[in-house]
């Protein structure tokens, strides 16, 4: 039986007639959970979020409740809450939907989170390239303020929290939480070294700060509504709740799908309609451009509960944090890019290296120089100018970036390089040897 979506966050947003205005949201029970929350003890809300097992939807999948527990509540300094709506990871477009279609759900999630963590000032950091999203949020915040859901004396309880929208200016690194914080302080977005700069202790203005993704914060509303126990029934243990998977590239029906407890094959075939006519899948980047690539014909080894070993393929990968990790990649930001047999894998890599070279903040030499080298080498290999040893140079160099930099972006450059070469070495080598270029002009992935 074909699978269907499990709609929690997008339950109303995609319905005809539903608008981003507050009336739509109130009509479906909006802000009832905020009213409930402000009557609860903050630690009880935090307890519920922790018990829900909610894992961050921004990339690393760190448990939200645990992150909130790490916040330094004894410093006497103000605590800040930042919603990360930088959404710049290639392949990811879910936060845009949540903000454009249901901004009040995010605002309610943020105000509940603010109350639970004693936050008096919260910020939505939205990328510059989403100007309409920023306007929609501004308008929604005004509406919410007029009704007493944002600002002073929220729901008449004496609890106050300001919420503002802050716009980025075209830099991917502002998605990294400490880069974001620097940028919010009015500086270049150079990520900070951890330790000591864990935002939970030393964040905005060196005060304790929570940085959460848009989708993470929206989930908080539903955890409170359903209760942690009920919420945990969605998905698998340690992978609770739904996820908004963004599928782009070579499938019949690209788009975002809110699902839980399905496999990658079910997403690719039942929901996305399978490959384009006459084509077959070649490779999948599961969680945004930074994540390791999977070969569609790859096989993985699993263990049954009784210890027996078995083999499974890409279609059988459980579509959640642990499922994708067991297959050697990560679900990251859930931005799935699909490539069919028409794609020259080296060109795909060259395209991504252009991205990382452009987006390195430049603070660390291995990332700054390495990403430029990777861009140049892959580009020349694609234009039939490969030099002997180019592939090995590229591979070796990648091994010297990740883990030697201030922020995890070093890995964002190296994981694609290493995994594309590991999995498609034959194809890339043959191409370099013959000095030939694979993709026809109209389908090319880099400037020629």
């Amino acid at each position: 039986m074909p699978v269907s979506e499990t709609k929690l966050l997008m339950k109303y947003a995609d319905e005809p007639g539903y608008t981003p205005g507050i009336e739509s949201y109130l009509a479906v029970g909006g802000y009832e959970m905020l009213k409930k929350a402000v009557g609860m003890k903050p630690e009880d809300i935090r307890g519920e979020v922790k018990a829900s097992g909610l894992r961050g939807r921004g990339g690393a999948g760190f448990p939200c409740g645990v992150k909130w527990d790490l916040v330094d509540r004894k410093s006497g300094k103000p605590i800040y809450l930042i919603c990360n709506c930088d959404e710049s990871e290639p392949g990811t477009f879910k936060d845009r939907q949540l903000v454009h279609k249901d901004p009040h759900q995010l605002i309610e999630g943020m105000m509940i989170s603010a109350f639970a963590n004693d936050v008096k000032f919260a910020v939505i950091y939205i990328r510059e390239e989403m100007p309409k999203g920023a306007k929609i949020l501004d308008a929604a915040i005004d509406e919410a303020r007029a009704r007493g859901f944002v600002g002073s004396n929220i729901c008449g309880t004496g609890f106050s929290c300001e919420l503002i929208v802050h716009r980025g200016a075209g830099a991917y690194i502002c998605g990294e939480e400490t880069g974001l914080i620097e940028s919010l302080e009015g500086k270049r977005a150079y990520p900070r070294i951890k330790p000591p700069y864990f935002p939970a202790v030393l964040g905005l203005y060196n005060c304790p700060t929570i940085v959460n993704n848009v989708e993470t914060l929206c989930n908080v509303v539903h955890i409170l509504r359903m209760g942690a126990a009920e919420y945990c029934k969605i998905g698998r243990p340690n992978n609770t709740g739904t996820r908004l998977w963004c599928v782009s590239g070579h499938v019949q029906r690209p788009g975002y799908y809110e699902v839980a407890g399905i496999t990658m094959g079910q997403l690719l075939y039942d929901l996305c309609g399978g490959p384009l006519p006459g084509r077959s899948f070649k490779a999948i980047v599961p969680g945004g451009g930074s994540m390791k690539i999977l070969r569609y014909d790859e096989k993985f080894k699993g263990k049954k509960p009784d210890g027996a070993a078995y083999e499974y393929g890409v279609d059988d990968i459980p579509l959640d944090f642990d499922g994708v990790a067991a297959a050697g990649s990560m679900s990251g930001s859930a931005g799935m890019m699909v490539m069919d047999d028409s794609v020259d894998i080296l060109e795909a890599l060259a395209n991504l290296m252009q991205f990382y070279a452009h987006e390195s903040c430049g603070q660390c030499t291995p990332c700054r120089e390495g990403s430029q080298w990777a861009r140049k080498i892959t580009a020349r290999m694609c234009s039939s100018n490969a030099k002997p040893g180019d592939l090995d140079t590229l591979y070796d160099m990648a091994g010297n970036i990740g883990g030697r930099t201030v922020c995890p972006m070093g890995f964002s450059t190296t994981w694609p390089v290493q995994s594309y070469i590991d999995k498609f070495r034959d194809e890339i080598e043959a191409k370099a040897r013959d000095n030939r270029c694979g993709m026809p002009r109209e389908a090319r992935l880099i400037q020629k």
């Binding site: 000032f121 716009r167 200016a169 500086k187 270049r188 590239g249 991205f355 090319r444």
Partner: protein, 168 residues
């Protein structure tokens, strides 16, 4: 530097929203760029005074972030995504058609200042690629065969026409 009265009053409202003045920098720069089409040396000095920081603090931000411009942007600003998902759907061909039809090379502003055409990295709309951001409006599914209306719209804006709202 003659900022419009609306710009000035917006700036006055933005600054006190932040716990620390310097945090308003990016938002103030956005306002100035929207008003003037770019960020001049004079503007940087002005912002520095306004936020009680050094001009170098403003310069470092203006030069770090790609969206801020020290040269005037065209009346119509077109950014075409070229990252992987859009690339897979034909973004490079889309870009080529736009260059030809609009008479402007990628990365350039036309001499008459009517149009800036450039590549951008992932615009967070990969499922409907290729996409382009035209001023504040997102144009989706921009395959070469569907570019007619988009080109007409860009030409209209470049000629000083009023933007037609899109979904975005």
């Amino acid at each position: 530097m003659n900022l419009k009265p609306e710009t000035l009053s917006t700036i006055e409202k933005i600054i006190p929203r932040y716990p620390q003045k310097r945090s308003a920098l990016m938002m103030v720069l956005h306002e100035i760029q929207a008003d003037q089409g770019h960020i001049s040396d004079e503007a940087m000095e002005w912002v520095a005074t306004k936020l009680e920081i050094q001009p170098i603090n403003v310069l470092e931000v203006v030069t770090f972030f790609p969206s801020y411009r020290r040269q005037k942007l065209g009346r119509c600003w077109v950014r075409v995504c070229r990252t992987l998902s859009c690339g897979l759907m034909g973004a490079y061909t889309t870009g080529e058609v736009l260059e030809k039809e609009l008479g402007c090379k990628m990365g350039h502003t036309t001499e008459d200042g009517s149009l800036t055409l450039e590549w951008s990295e992932c615009l967070a709309a990969c499922g409907t690629g290729p996409v382009a951001l035209v001023d504040e409006d997102l144009f989706e599914n921009m395959t070469p065969d569907k570019l007619g209306p988009v080109i007409a719209e860009i030409k209209k804006r470049a000629a000083g026409g009023v933007p037609t709202p899109t979904k975005g």
